[in-house]
Structures are given as C-alpha cells and as structure tokens.
C-alpha cells in the first residue's frame, strides 16, 4: 500500500515524533487530513513548551537578572533562525505577531494609513482568505481606498493578463496569497511582484499556506511583506511573523502603542524604539516564539525540498485516487499546487461528508474555508478539503477514499 518515497523522509520516524497522531478517533486510528487549518505538533515543540515554563519563564527585554536575559536570548534566537529560514536580509526585518492575520492587519493599518489616500487602489485576488480581504475593506471604509480583484480561471489560477490590466496610476498595493488554502494553487509570486514593482506598487504575500510546505526566499521573490503563522508550520498557536523590507518597516508608524516599543516617554513626547521592537508592543507570546524555534529546526532538519517532494507525491496519488470515484469533482486543478485538495461529491453536502468521514476517524475540513468568494466563483456552497503535512501517508489517502465510498453507499 505504501510505496517507498523518492524523498529521504522516513515516514515512520517522522510520525513517531507526533504524539497526537498515535491516538484513536471514534475507536479508529486517527487520519488527520486537516494540516492546512493547523498542523499537529512534534515532540520537540511540546517538550520545549514544558521546559520553557519549568525552567526559563521570564519576561524579555526587561530584567537585569540572568533568567530574563536567557529568555530574551532564546526569543531573539527564533528571530535569527527565522531570518535564515526565509532568507531575509536582516533579523530586524522579522516582526513577531500573534499570527498571519495580525501581520496583515499591522501592514494594512500602519503602512496603509500612512501611505494610502482616498481613491488609491489596492489589488487583491478572488482566492484570498478572508484575512487578506477584510483588513483592506476596513481600510477602504476608513480611508476611501478602492479594492480591485484579480479574477481566477476555471482551474483556480490567477488570470495574469487580467492582473496586469488592473494596474493604473492609482495602484498602490497588491495583497496576494502565496498558496490558496481553499484550492491549493501556488501563485507566481516572483512574476507578480515584478509586475507590481514595475507599476510602483508594493506587494504583500500571505504565506500562511505556503511557508510550511515549500522553500521560501523573500529576497528571491522580492516581496515587500511576507506573513505567516507558526501553528500551520508545526509550531504553537498565537505566534505569527511579519517580514518587511527594512526601509519600509523603518518608515512605517507604529501600529500599537505600549511597553517595549518606545525609547522614551513623557507626557509631552514619546520617541519610538527601533526595529523590530517598534512593532512588538507589550509582552508577546514569549513561550510560543521560543518554541517556534524548535519547529523551524525540525523543518530544517527534514529539509523543505524534501517536504515539498513528499507532499507532491501524496498530492498526485490522492488526485488520481479521487478521480476514480464516480461523481467526485476536484475544485482547484492548477498546475502548481501545495498538498491541498478541495472537492465535492455528487449532491452530498460537504458537512454530511465531513460527519461520515469523522465517524471513520478521518479529520477533514468541510465548509467555505474562510474563502467565500472562492465558493461563489466555483458556484458551490462549500467543499470538502483534505490537506497534507510532513506526517501524511498514502495510507491516510486510502482511508479517505474508503470513507468516501461509505458516503456514497449511505447517500446512494
């Protein structure tokens, strides 16, 4: 059933690092096919969390005592790892936030309010997650900017010609996902950034669904901002990253005011701290950031190229197997995809499919995936989505196929 993979991953060894995957669900081995919504956590992350609270807990950038200095060092080490991981030029270009959503909101409110005026245009795409639509709409309602939307093709790919045609002298910004959470499509970011820059616009890339699954080099992509969430990359919830080119971040006003982000405060005048502290007001998720370093090292040890190859093997296997089920339609058939497959089956509603699969121990997402415009574009109320991670196996896919045959029997 499980053929040997071309990559050098030993799946059994990797799976053994994820304690949660060993459990039963409804009396059956858990088949976790929802890594796009959040990944499971390896032992190194779980143990580092325990170790942090047992041995290292202190506030950072504050204490003169050794414990605080050590926590500060550990916190800053994650920034250094993260810089190398996405090949940012400087560690201070890495801002820790509470997640990709918070990172986008930071850029919309700080960069947007400082740089956009009424009538300026921001380009987003039809395949954006709500978190890369709503912050721009909120800004529109506050500043009078205009949102322009890139259409997508029937395969679920960006219509590049339409994208080029959206630019005019009022275009200031492009906010685009690197990989679609609902369709799996990997967008041609490098090309899209080049086009945006040709027109003098800046580009923000939502990397939440791409960063855990493929090598990311922000300098090669030449994006101005790149955002991601730790919890989708085997790290803890409540931690995200905003990467921004330092000249942009330096010129941006702070987003939130508070401790740590200031140089000096009097009631007459406050001066702000330098990067990255300027954007990290208040006590952050210290434990989360510190243990995220373990997740990054875990990914580095596996190698992002190998992870991508493993997930591509699974994606093509699952695509073939699903295509054999009569009445099954895959939504999102782009040439370049991450390990995400959205589909509908006959006239059975995705929630009913989700419930049946759950009873077989199979966890998938059923719904609109926080991407309602994608559902509208493909004229479906919802889809079922299976998504892969480093620990996913062909046996997981086989279980999904068997579960879908049960659905067909039940709803025959």
């Amino acid at each position: 059933m499980i053929s040997s993979h071309k990559s050098n991953l030993s799946l059994d060894t990797i799976r053994a690092e994820f304690p949660l995957l060993q459990q039963l669900s409804h009396g059956k081995p858990l088949v976790y096919l929802d890594s796009s919504v959040t990944s499971q956590k390896p032992r190194c992350v779980i143990e580092a969390t325990h170790q942090y609270y047992s041995e290292q807990n202190a506030n950072i950038h504050r204490g003169v005592y050794e414990l605080s200095a050590r926590a500060t060092d550990l916190f800053e080490q994650t920034r250094v790892t993260m810089r190398a991981f996405i090949n940012a030029q400087h560690a201070h270009e890495i801002i820790f936030t509470s997640g990709a959503t918070a990172s986008i909101n930071l850029v919309a409110h700080s960069y947007g309010r400082a740089n956009f005026k009424a009538g300026d245009e921001v380009i987003v795409s039809t395949m954006e997650h709500h978190s890369n639509i709503v912050p721009w709409q909120m800004l529109r309602d506050q500043c009078g900017i205009v949102l322009r939307v890139i259409p997508i093709t029937d395969a679920g790919e960006i219509d590049l010609d339409a994208y080029k045609n959206l630019f005019n002298e009022k275009t200031k910004f492009v906010a685009i996902t690197h990989a679609s959470n609902a369709l799996g499509t990997i967008n041609p970011i490098k090309e899209m950034a080049r086009i945006a820059h040709q027109h003098g616009a800046k580009i923000l890339v939502d990397g939440a669904q791409a960063f855990p699954h493929l090598p990311v080099d922000v300098q090669d992509l030449d994006c101005d901002f790149y955002v991601l969430s730790a919890h989708k990359a085997y790290g803890p919830t409540g931690v995200g990253v905003l990467y921004g080119k330092s000249e942009l971040l330096n010129a941006m006003p702070p987003y939130q005011g508070g401790g740590d982000m200031i140089e000096s405060v009097s009631f007459e005048k406050t001066t702000y701290n330098k990067l990255p502290a300027k954007f990290e007001a208040g006590t952050p998720n210290i434990a989360g950031v510190i243990v995220f370093n373990e997740a990054l090292k875990f990914l580095q040890a596996l190698g992002m190229n190998h992870i991508a190859a493993h997930e591509q093997t699974l994606l093509s296997y699952a695509t073939q197997q699903l295509a054999n089920i009569p009445g099954l339609r895959i939504i999102g058939t782009a040439k370049e995809k991450v390990g995400v497959i959205s589909f509908v089956l006959d006239d059975v509603h995705p929630h009913d499919i989700g419930t049946v699969l759950d009873s077989e121990g199979i966890a998938v997402r059923a719904g609109h995936h926080c991407a309602m415009p994608v559902m509208t574009r493909f004229n479906v109320p919802a889809t079922v989505r299976a998504s892969f991670g480093v620990y996913s196996t062909q046996a997981d896919v086989d279980a999904l196929i068997a579960g879908l045959l049960t659905v067909k029997r039940l709803f025959a």
Partner: protein, 149 residues
C-alpha cells in the same frame, strides 16, 4: 456506522434531497432569513399565519441534509398548528436534538423523531435547529437576521 445510520435515516436523506414545501410562498405574511455562518447553511422561511394559526410554511435555501430535512419536516409538521402548539413542539424538538429522544416526547414530535440521532453529533445541532430558530424569529417579528453563532 450504527450512529451514522441513526443520523442519516432514509427519511432524512429523502427530505434532504427532495425537500417538501420548497419555494417562495406568495401570500406569506411573515418571512425570515436564517444563516449559519460557520458552515454557510442559509434559509429563507415564509409563513402564512391567520388568527394565530400557521396556515402554511414554505422555505428556500441551501445546506446539508440535516438542515434541509429539518426545514422540510418543520414545514410539514407545523402546518395547521397554533402558535402555542408550535412552541410546545419546538421545545420538545430542541430537547431531542440536544439531549436525545424521550418516550414522553415521541407523541409530540411525530415524524420529527427521525432527527433524534442528531443528539449524538453535537457539531450538527446547529444544522438541525437553523430552520426552527428562523421560524421563531419570523413569528416574533424579530428584525435581526437569525444567526446560529
């Protein structure tokens, strides 16, 4: 699988696929939109009420088998009932889908008892109750959209 069969009884699959009283009710004097934002189920319920009697109910919408079957069965069950009777049935229905079917409630619920399996699937209670909350809001002339969140 036995729980699943209990949930997806033939009548539910039938009503889910071929909902009764589906479509706009031209002479409705009450109507209401209901929405389940988590899963996207939506429904518009039309009611013709005269002298506190529910003369007719129709609905439009899209959603899972449970939500559509529940709306369909609601439209059949509440037709001809008084407001007071509808309230009693709703109370029994709500108790059934959250806590399970009791013998005492069977007479009140009639056909609706096929939805008793929902109580084993807490994630699906909102699907089963969407039409019912929408019906209540329609009768109460509630101007806020019905939302199960």
């Amino acid at each position: 699988m036995s729980n699943l069969r209990e949930l997806y009884q033939e009548m539910i699959i039938d009503h889910g696929r071929h909902p009764r009283n589906f479509g706009v009710l031209a002479d409705a004097n009450l109507s209401k939109d209901g929405f389940n934002p988590l899963c996207g189920d939506k429904i518009t319920l039309y009611v013709r009420e005269d002298n506190h009697v529910i003369e007719k109910i129709q609905f439009e919408g899209s959603g899972c088998a449970i939500s559509m079957a529940s709306a369909s069965l609601l439209s059949e069950t509440l037709k001809g009932k008084t407001r007071a009777e509808a309230e009693t049935i709703f109370a029994a229905f709500h108790q059934m889908v959250t806590e399970g079917l009791t013998e005492a409630a069977e007479a009140t619920l009639g056909k609706l008892a096929v939805l008793g399996g929902v109580s084993e699937f807490p994630a699906r209670v909102k699907c089963a109750t969407l039409a019912w909350h929408t019906f209540n809001a329609a009768l109460a002339h509630d101007t806020n959209p019905v939302c199960t969140e």
